[in-house]
């Protein structure tokens, strides 16, 4: 079930080297969604903050949904409430959601948040401003960034842009585009001054999409059902037959000794229980 990152899908590149920590992106996201919080206090994702920024030493670590190419959250959702669009964003349909929260457990980046204090709760996460993308506009956070630290474009363009930035200033950048290959690729990519693990991001994720781990097992199940069903029926038939034979045997012996007309009962399940 590998999905290949589509070159033309929309993506976001976050360049930590250029980021000044002005929190314009955070502010823009809060405003677009009518969330009450203050940008400067938004250091953790929440049901009312789809992006957040922490400082890690001298660096600004931005958090948001990565819009994985093969998203764990969408693969585990029993009702398909989350799905990857061709346009790029991974979006959520509240009307389908049953609230099992498996998406939250499964997301390798701990992104989805829940409305714990609502009687009609929903999962909340960044939707990559899909409505704006559809109109051909960049995401609100990218539009707000005055330093080219958060940029929006096609995935292909942004990978090229990231390569260019790293190549032009190799001293400033760590030579890796985080999200180009991780877990099969993501549509939100980071370039950083240091290896990513030193900045508090999850590292060592490998390049295989996590949903494959589940699918390896799930795809075997139809086989288990067919073989298992056949085996169980066969077992039943054999043991049942053995019982019949031995019962007949016993009855025959009985007949022989008593000379009676006792009939082999061919006892089976249905007579007992």
């Amino acid at each position: 079930m590998d999905t290949i990152p589509t070159a033309k899908s929309r993506a976001i590149l976050f360049d930590m080297v250029r980021c000044t920590g002005c929190r314009g992106c955070i502010n823009a996201c809060l405003k677009t969604h009518d969330f009450k919080g203050e940008a400067k206090d938004t250091t953790e994702l929440s049901a009312t903050a789809y992006t957040a920024m922490r400082t890690e030493g001298e660096f600004n670590v931005r958090q948001m949904c990565r819009h994985c190419v093969t998203p764990s959250c969408a693969s585990v959702c029993p009702v398909g409430a989350l799905h990857k669009t061709d346009l790029g964003p991974v979006v959520y349909d509240e009307s389908k959601c049953i609230g099992c929260r498996y998406c939250m457990v499964a997301c390798p980046f701990n992104v989805p948040r829940y409305e714990w204090n609502s009687p009609v709760p929903a999962v909340r996460k960044c939707d990559m401003c899909i409505d704006r993308l559809k109109e051909g506009k960049p995401t609100a956070c990218a539009e707000a960034c005055r330093f080219g630290a958060t940029v929006c474009g096609t995935r292909e363009e942004l990978v090229a842009e990231a390569r260019k930035r790293i190549a032009e200033d190799p001293d400033m950048y760590y030579d890796h585009i985080y999200g180009e290959k991780e877990l099969g690729g993501t549509n939100v990519m980071f370039i950083t001054p240091q290896p990513i693990e030193s900045l508090g991001y999850k590292a060592k994720l490998g390049e295989t999409p996590l949903p494959n781990l589940t699918w390896n097992v799930l795809e075997k199940l139809p086989g288990v059902v067919v073989v298992g069903g056949a085996a169980l029926s066969a077992f039943w038939w054999i043991t049942n037959r053995r019982d019949e034979v031995s019962a007949a045997h016993a009855a025959a012996k009985h007949d022989a000794t008593n000379g009676g007309t006792h009939k082999a009962s061919g006892e089976n399940d249905h007579d007992r229980a």
């Binding site: 929440s46 398909g80 829940y114 009687p119 589940t214 097992v217 169980l232 039943w236």
Partner: protein, 411 residues
């Protein structure tokens, strides 16, 4: 667990009613104020006690339903036939409770039917919800026989009899699928679940341990109902179940050790870190000790010791499921989760409902063979009811093979 005794029934009834009353109040709070008002669940720990205990343990402990029906109907191990009804009743009640508890846990219980029409075949949870729905139906069909018998509806009983075998086969398949799939649920979190519990063999481990839990529950329940109602199973049957349980625990333990070994996890298992201690609690207290106990024919022949081994097995099983669903996540998620008082009380509420429903079943349906209404344990006469010719041929070898596979002396 203190044993229930007749003179104290009214006391337990009062406890029961108190729990139910508290449960109903919390139910109101849960559905008007949201999950946050009654639980300690958070964005870091979106799953807690209700998934770890109510769902994972509930389903596992009800596994006796498929284990025993398979043993009796498919493998024709007739000696266990008197147990069939008790396990079907437990399983049926267990699943009803699991589904009810899930209505509390999921955020939008009114949408619970969605997986039946909105399909995502890539989701384990989708598969589990289908299996649980179908299996609960199967259990209902199996259970309905007891009701028809009570109502004296011979026609309905006949129909129910006719579909027993297909039901059993479907039940075994569905159970195998979802018992193992509850392990598959965790395969997608290699980066979050501690390596002592995260393994590709989780589906198989979950399946085998559910078989063990089902058998242990059988012994456990028989003892409880003997204390409470003077009805229980014959000691030879329970000893037999204990012997099979030892075999299953042996296989499970061996696979667990082999799996840890091949992944080079022995060091971490024994370094006495928080995870290591929780692992040892589960592995030594809840697996090794009952396994060794059950190897002794004397233990298996003694009602109290057998019961002790069963309780340890159940506790070990519960610890394992809580470790997988909670302990194993605490390191990666950076924090700890402890259920809130209300959250725990709601779980207690469901357990109490389970006990209550089981008690009703034992009292009003013909669950345990009638000739065994006696008080106290260990005083029963051993008298296998069913055809011993069959036992001599078909039945014994399977169990015997399982038992000798791990060198258990035959009692």
């Amino acid at each position: 667990m203190t044993a229930l005794e007749r003179p104290r029934m009214s006391f337990w009834k009062a406890v029961f009613l108190a729990i139910v009353a508290v449960g109903l109040v919390l139910c109101y709070v849960r559905f008007t104020k949201g999950l946050g008002a009654v639980t300690n669940l958070s964005d870091k720990f979106p799953w807690g006690l209700w998934v770890g205990f109510d769902l994972l343990c509930g389903v596992g402990l009800a596994a006796g339903g498929f284990v025993i029906t398979a043993t009796v109907y498919i493998f024709h191990i007739e000696r266990l036939r008197p147990v069939v009804r008790a396990t079907i009743l437990t399983a049926f009640l267990g699943y009803i409770l699991v589904v009810s508890a899930l209505m509390f846990d999921i955020g939008r219980p009114w949408a619970m039917w969605h997986p039946l029409v909105m399909w995502n075949p890539h989701s384990v949870m989708f598969e589990v919800s289908w299996c649980v729905t179908l299996y609960t139906t199967v259990l209902f069909l199996e259970f309905s026989g007891m009701i028809f018998e009570k109502l004296k509806w011979p026609r309905a009983m006949k129909v129910q009899h006719a579909i027993t075998l297909p039901c059993v086969v479907a039940g075994v398949l569905l159970s195998t699928l979802h018992q193992s799939s509850l392990g598959t649920v965790y395969l997608i979190v290699p980066g979050k679940l501690h390596a002592l519990w995260y393994t590709q063999t989780l589906p198989i481990l979950f399946w085998i341990s559910s078989v063990a839990a089902g058998l242990a529950m059988l012994i456990f329940e028989s003892r409880l109902s003997s204390k409470a109602f003077g009805r229980q199973l014959e000691m030879p049957i329970l000893s037999e179940a204990g012997r099979v349980l030892a075999a299953v625990l042996g296989v499970y333990g061996a696979l667990r050790v082999y799996d840890l070994g091949t992944r080079g996890m022995f060091g971490q298992a024994l370094d006495f870190s928080y995870e290591s201690r929780m692992f040892l609690l589960e592995f030594v207290g809840g697996l090794l000790v009952p396994f060794v106990m059950l190897l002794f024919p004397k233990v298996r022949a003694n009602a109290k010791w057998l019961y002790g081994a069963a309780v340890l097995t159940i506790l070990g099983f519960v610890t394992n499921r809580l470790n997988v669903s909670i302990t194993g996540f605490e390191g990666a998620q950076g924090g700890t989760y402890l259920p809130s008082v209300s959250e725990t009380l709601i779980t207690v509420f469901f357990v109490a409902l389970g006990f209550g429903a089981f008690a009703l079943g034992v009292r009003h349906l013909n669950i345990y063979p009638e000739n065994e209404e006696k008080h106290g344990a260990g005083t029963k006469t051993a008298k296998p009811e069913v055809g011993s010719a069959i036992e001599a041929t078909a039945a014994a070898p399977v169990v015997r093979e399982m038992a000798t596979a791990v060198r258990i002396p035959t009692a």
